[in-house]
Symmetry: C2
Subunit: 231 residues, 2 copies
DNA sequence: ACCTGAACACCGTTCAAGT
DNA sequence: ACCTGAACACCGTTCAAGT
């Protein structure tokens, strides 16, 4: 990078040099094809390059690294699928936006890998960032200070990320579950009477989707604290 | 495995064959040494075998696979560090147990990798499982049905796992953060006025530890729902 | 300006053969 | 009964050299 004001001769009169074989857009499209056909576990830089018919090193001219690729991919998915109309009442808007974020992430199991990447939130765009705005603005409308509104968002974000992560990891076959977690059905009634009493029903209870109920409860608790501070 | 009642001749008269060079206990101890000296990212089967002075394949005679190793390791840590005396009031016991689980996991950044593994909860032992019992039993004492008590635990567990995961991933250097998330400080004031108004203070707000406040709020919300159902 | 092959520095896991 | 070397089937990433 010349800092002396010289213009690289190649840039005079438009583009020169070897024409591009691929682009950021083509790479993202190819990544979606690989995930659809082979599953997200198979989305490696090498497999992606093969899908595009280029060398693996070429990919690095269009994305920084694997994490950057996954974040861009999730952001492009998120921007498409979070175009929900939100309620105007602030409390209901917070709940609806949180559920919209959750439902989007739940559709892509690999989201859990990238959702917590450093700076992920800061690289969102379009409708995804609109959901974040909806939650934070909703909290402010409910009387929160900027710091409190940020805490409301972060708390709901942790809950969402945790649910997605555990859900993803628990989506293995019944046979795997049996082999991996045989102990959960026979707890010691002396040391852990309540768990022992629940017994095998734990698995049944855990299979229920209680995310929305949890969001509702959490928002109640978070907003009641703001009222306490104000009053 | 003979199903015909024959006893393998080797088992008559005690142990025979090549004596063990290592054991499950030695492997766990070596794993801790590797993490302490080289960091948890360096804890690979090959590095671990080198630490023990055995071949990599030998490790597989004592642990099922890498995930099994990490779960056993975390469980042994957890059993040691979750020996907290809990309050007797059920609501406070739920809060204290959740915070105890969180604080234990927060000390080992690699916990996030394994905490959501399929069946992880079912393989806990000792004081770790006592914390789960404390939360579920506390909820029952507050009037929850077994299904509701399970939901209380799972909701708090998701929140805890999410916080640990995001915390771990955000613990990179300030320089990394600058490079990765430059966008978070200049949001479009038209599209996202609240985020734009918060601006660079977002990073300051996000650095605050609000986990305990969140648990308190979440438990309030979850228990109020049980009261609603009962009344 | 962009692309490439080859290399670097690794992984987890399996298995026939040895002790 | 346990251990091993070697192999299998991969990774992400870099870089000098080519077009």
């Amino acid at each position: 990078m010349p800092h002396d004001g010289r213009v690289p001769s190649a840039s005079i009169g438009g583009r020169v040099g070897r024409p591009p074989l691929t682009s950021r857009e083509e790479i993202l499209a190819a990544a979606r094809r690989v995930i659809d056909s082979d599953g997200w576990q198979r989305l490696t830089i090498r497999r992606l390059a093969a899908e595009l018919g280029v060398g693996a090193a070429t990919v690095y001219h269009h994305v920084q690294d694997r994490e950057d690729l996954l974040i861009q991919l999730l952001d492009s998915y998120a921007d498409e699928s979070m175009r929900t109309r939100l309620p105007s009442a602030p409390r209901e808007r917070i709940v609806a936006a949180t559920i919209a974020i959750h439902d989007t992430l739940a559709h892509w199991p690999w989201a859990a890998e990238v959702v917590a990447a450093d700076g992920f939130l800061g690289r969102l765009s379009g409708s995804a960032v609109a959901m974040v705005e909806a939650i934070v603005a909703g909290a402010v409308e409910c009387g929160a200070t900027p710091a409190q509104a940020t805490t409301v968002f972060r708390s709901l974000w942790y809950y969402t990320v945790g649910e997605i992560l555990v859900r993803t990891r628990s989506d293995s076959s019944e046979a795997d579950r049996e082999a991996r977690a045989p102990a959960f059905t026979d707890f010691d009634p002396e040391a852990t009477p309540t768990l022992a009493a629940i017994g095998p029903r734990w698995l049944e209870f855990s299979a229920r989707d209680t995310f929305a109920v949890g969001v509702d409860a959490f928002v109640d608790g978070l907003l009641s604290r703001i009222a306490d501070d104000a009053g």
